[in-house]
Amino acid sequence: MENITKKIRAVAKQALINKEIDKILGWKKGDLWSESYPVFITKPEDADSLIWDSFCINNLSKYLIKELPKYDKIGIFIKGCDSTSFNQLLKDNRINRENVVLYGIPCEGMVDPEKVKKIMLNDRVTRVKKSENGFTLTNKNTSKDVLGEEIKYDKCLTCTSPNPVVYDQLLGDVVNNNVNREDRFKGVEEIESMTPDERYNFWKGEFQRCLRCNACRDICPACSCVKCVFDNSDAEISGKAKTEGEDTFFHIVRAYHVAGRCVDCGECARICPAGIPLDKLNRKIIKDINEVYGEFNAGLDSTTPAPLVTFKLEDADTFSKQGGK
């Protein structure tokens, strides 16, 4: 990781000095061991604050929507899941490929501070360092070795694209995380096997904790509408009442709006302050698309039309007796 940090600083500095780019989006260290923040840099001398560690979880690509109109050329560091997001933004015509320089970083998975705190809460962790086969958690007096699986984010444990799928320059070696693509649907299958009432009660229990803070929408690379229906009172779907029906309404509509465009980056579920497993909604839709219309992975490229903007004459359906033929 130190190696990559060095490379990041070097390329950023060089590109800014040569005026190849006007601004660079990266991460810098916060005050705590668990904080690595997005940072925007325009001066070459500031490039030394850039870092790459196990907490660079934030996806920088969505910032491009707001930043690109202000600059001609922007450089950005992207992990695997950030790169699928980038492709999705390209496909949705939200950004221009020519105005961006992509520095890809193969990602070995990010660490969930909450999981670390569960293991070493009262011991005041001061450092989390990558070790040979996991991580070493250190505090003032002792240190403890843990496996990666114990403290990585859930979304990283099922990540299907750790290596950037689009980049101009790759920093670091390609990683292999041996994840089975189908494993991510296990949570969905569990819910599918319940009775309708059990399913309803499960989701009711989850949805009723929703604060309607819209963080899941704001962080989502597929949710990039200039004016979101939920902010548009004229659309008459932005009911703000805290009732069961409205909560469910919000969640079904949000999940459906990203159908076929959700890149399964897991950011919505990670960011949700109420811990609602939004990934289980998105993945249900992904699973159904795969089953009914053939496997489709949004974000793998920026050109294949999304399943819901196209159709085939011989498509099947899931509702009529004859399956739509």
């Binding site: 009432d197 309803y200 779907i237 009732t243 309404f249 079904i252 459906y256 159709f311």
Partner: protein
């Protein structure tokens, strides 16, 4: 929910008259409903038909709002694939509502309460059958409580 418990609900509430909202495409299904009417076929009166220009005009909000505001069942009826007045609308309906049908089921709405079907202008009979079927299914299930807006009153 087993059938027995549902029968109980109905016993206790003998008045239960399922309210069905049917979104019908102007060019096929709405004409199918007309035909069912002019042919004097029997189909239940507590079906509220909402005419839409094409089945693909119906979006997920319509369906959810119907359930929130009192529907016990919702039907979307459009022209058979290949017969769309606008050529391709119902192909989109087919994809969208395939996903939405499954999603509704996934969040716990019984699949008997939400139906999508193809009914042409010549299929007055089919119109009556589809409506009678959903009415019967919904009657067995009892009143819909899921997704209901707490502020909704009859």
């Amino acid at each position: 929910m087993s059938l027995d418990t549902n029968t109980n609900i109905i016993d206790k509430n003998e008045e239960f008259k399922p309210l069905i909202v049917a979104f019908c495409c102007n060019w096929c299904s709405y004409a199918g409903a007309d035909l069912a009417g002019t042919s004097r076929l029997n189909y239940p009166a507590n079906i509220k038909i909402i005419r839409v220009p094409c089945s693909c005009r119906v979006n997920i909000n319509f369906v959810l709002r119907a359930f929130q505001n009192g529907a016990d069942g919702v039907v979307i009826a459009g022209c058979h694939p290949g017969d769309c007045h606008y050529s391709t609308g119902n192909y989109h309906t087919r994809r969208r509502f395939s996903l939405i049908t499954n999603l509704a089921e996934y969040v716990g709405v019984e699949k008997e309460r939400f139906k999508v079907d193809w009914i042409s202008a010549a299929e007055g009979n089919k119109f009556a059958t589809v409506m009678n079927d959903i009415l019967e299914d919904v009657y067995k299930l009892g009143p819909n409580k899921k997704l209901r807006d707490a502020r909704w009153k009859i």
